[in-house]
């Protein structure tokens, strides 16, 4: 198996302040990785650094063996966001199509091949039924499916998903994480998924990347989400509790970060 993501002594500064620094991180191709951590810790920044949207101030980052470069078709990105404007008048299928050729300049002739590719992708995420509807009118779960299709349509080998489960109900959280898992397992797509609550994806993930206190820690879920480990990372007392049904809840002194589905 080859390496999907490699960070070496990587640091990012934003607005004159270090977000995280001296990060070493290796992610293998085909892994399903959850990125966790309190608000403002730099999870979104981590994805943006891998996309080449935010520059490193120190160190090096590479994706699939090549230095990070903005615009790489290897990574499909789903940014952290509120929902689309309900008045946005563009069809779901057009949005997916933009993921394929939206970065191309100039006019182009109608392309049956691209149209087919878009149709196949939409079918894979199970969104065929509503692909002709304006995207603003779709529900949160429907929008996420469309966005995953958009992220994958250019042939991406890695998905960078920033809180895709936020604002979804439990059923949709499960459906979307299972969809992402199936791409990971059957097509070998590497998945980096930023989550507020680890529990819906706990059965699926190979590894956890925990971002807190300007540091990044990676490892197996049960090794990282532990009282001792997180206390060291936060440099503050943090406690990890396990509920009887196997859910993990992180309680901290400074910023209580709950990983429980019902707590927000």
């Amino acid at each position: 198996m080859s390496v999907a993501v490699q960070l070496e002594h990587a640091s990012v500064r934003l607005g004159g302040r270090a977000v995280w620094s001296d990060v070493d991180l290796t992610i293998e191709e085909g892994e399903f990785v959850a990125i966790l951590g309190p608000n403002g810790a730099g999870k979104s920044t981590l994805l943006k650094a891998l996309l080449g949207v935010v520059p490193l101030s120190h160190g090096a980052a590479s994706v699939f063996g090549r230095p990070v470069r903005r615009g790489s078709p290897d990574i499909g990105y789903l940014p952290q966001r509120r929902r689309f404007d309900p008045d946005l008048r563009i069809r779901a299928v057009d949005l997916v199509r933009l993921g394929l050729d939206g970065n191309r300049w100039g006019l182009s002739l109608p392309s049956p091949a691209r149209r087919r590719r878009v149709g196949e992708m939409i079918e894979l995420v199970g969104a065929s039924r509503y692909q002709e509807r304006p995207v603003g009118e779709l529900s949160g779960g429907e929008q996420q499916r469309i966005l995953i299709a958009q992220a994958l349509v250019s042939g991406a080998r890695m998905l960078a998903l920033d809180e895709p489960l936020e604002s979804l109900d439990l059923n949709n959280q499960q459906a979307i994480s299972q969809l992402v898992r199936s791409f990971c397992r059957t097509q070998g797509v590497t998945v980096l998924l930023v989550a507020h609550d680890v529990n819906p994806i706990l059965p699926f993930i190979d590894r956890v990347v925990y971002v807190a206190g300007g540091h990044v820690l990676a490892g197996r879920p049960r090794d990282v989400i532990r009282t001792e480990t997180l206390t060291k990372l936060y440099e503050a007392p943090v406690e990890v509790l396990q509920t009887t049904d196997g859910r993990l809840v992180v309680v901290g002194q400074y910023e209580p970060v709950s990983h429980h589905a019902n707590s927000h």
């Binding site: 615009g71 933009l98 939206g102 970065n103 006019l107 509807r133």
Partner: protein, 283 residues
């Protein structure tokens, strides 16, 4: 105005319409403007930049006055001022969304100042209420040959640029974060579009004036977006509507005693209200 009224003989009516040079110029400039305004207007509405379009048209006021003052065509003054304002707005931030109050206030102050300045220019040097009237409500029946040439050049350039950057611009408009990650220069596109918009505004003001700019620059795009969510169809619809409003407005004004601007805005408003009503009824 014409000696004969319209008949049901379309060819004869067209001959009547186009028998005078000023009407030929009006139709030529009007069509060129409508084509560009239709395309640009689709993006204006998609991007939620109607306020920016309106702002640009008004910032052009002293520009038009300066054009008169320097004895060059007002449209050249308009172009210079609008493009400068577009660069200023684009440099400051993404755009002048009405939601951004601090920025809206800044732009509003500049706006008021530039309007005052324009008024002063007109008083001091041109001294004509006619000029101000033309600027506020358009002067399509007074289009000189040179204005047609400038309009042609601007329309061709604007069209070419929009055709070239259309797809990335749609991407950047509906999904800026993903577009940026996919290598689309979102900020440069935003400034680029504002400059094209400024050029479009400058030539549109000749036709409908700054107060009625909504009719050609916003209404066709807004109506088209009510009717369809397909980008290609929407763009085409917007252009067709914009041209139809202009041609219809000119013909109606020619065969009646009322001003062109009134008819163009009435057609535009009517179409917009009708489609909104249609969607409302369907929903």
């Amino acid at each position: 105005m014409p000696e004969q009224g319209p008949s049901w003989d379309v060819l004869a009516d067209l001959q009547l319409l186009l028998q005078f040079h000023f009407m030929q110029n009006a139709y030529m400039a009007g069509t060129l403007v409508a084509l560009l305004a239709g395309v640009a207007g689709y993006f204006v509405v998609l991007r939620g930049q109607s306020f920016a379009a309106h702002t640009l048209s008004q910032v052009g006021f002293p520009g038009a006055a300066a054009g008169v003052l320097l004895h060059v065509s007002p449209v050249l003054g308009l172009i210079a001022f609008c493009v400068a304002a577009a660069l200023g707005i684009g440099w400051r931030g993404r755009d002048v969304e009405a939601g951004n109050r601090a920025e809206a206030a800044t732009v509003g102050s500049i706006l008021a100042f530039s309007l005052g300045l324009g008024l002063l220019f007109f008083r001091l040097y041109a001294g004509s209420a006619q000029g101000i009237y033309a600027f506020l409500f358009g002067s399509i029946l007074g289009i000189a040959d040179r204005d047609v040439q400038v309009t042609l050049a601007v329309a061709v350039a604007g069209f070419a640029v929009l055709a070239w950057m259309g797809r990335p611009l749609i991407f950047a408009s509906v999904d800026p974060d993903v577009a940026e990650a996919r290598g689309v220069p979102v900020r440069a596109l935003s400034i680029g579009f504002l400059v094209v918009l400024a050029l479009t505004v400058a030539i549109t003001v000749q036709i409908v004036g700054t107060l009625l700019i909504f009719a050609l620059l916003v209404a066709p795009g807004a109506t088209a977006l009510q009717l369809t969510a397909r980008p290609a169809v929407g763009l085409l619809t917007s252009v067709v509507l914009s041209v139809a409003f202009t041609w219809g407005g000119l013909a109606l004004a020619y065969f009646s005693a009322f001003p062109v601007g009134f008819f163009i805005t009435s057609l535009a408003f009517g179409a917009y209200v009708a489609t909104r009503g249609l969607r409302f009824a369907r929903a």
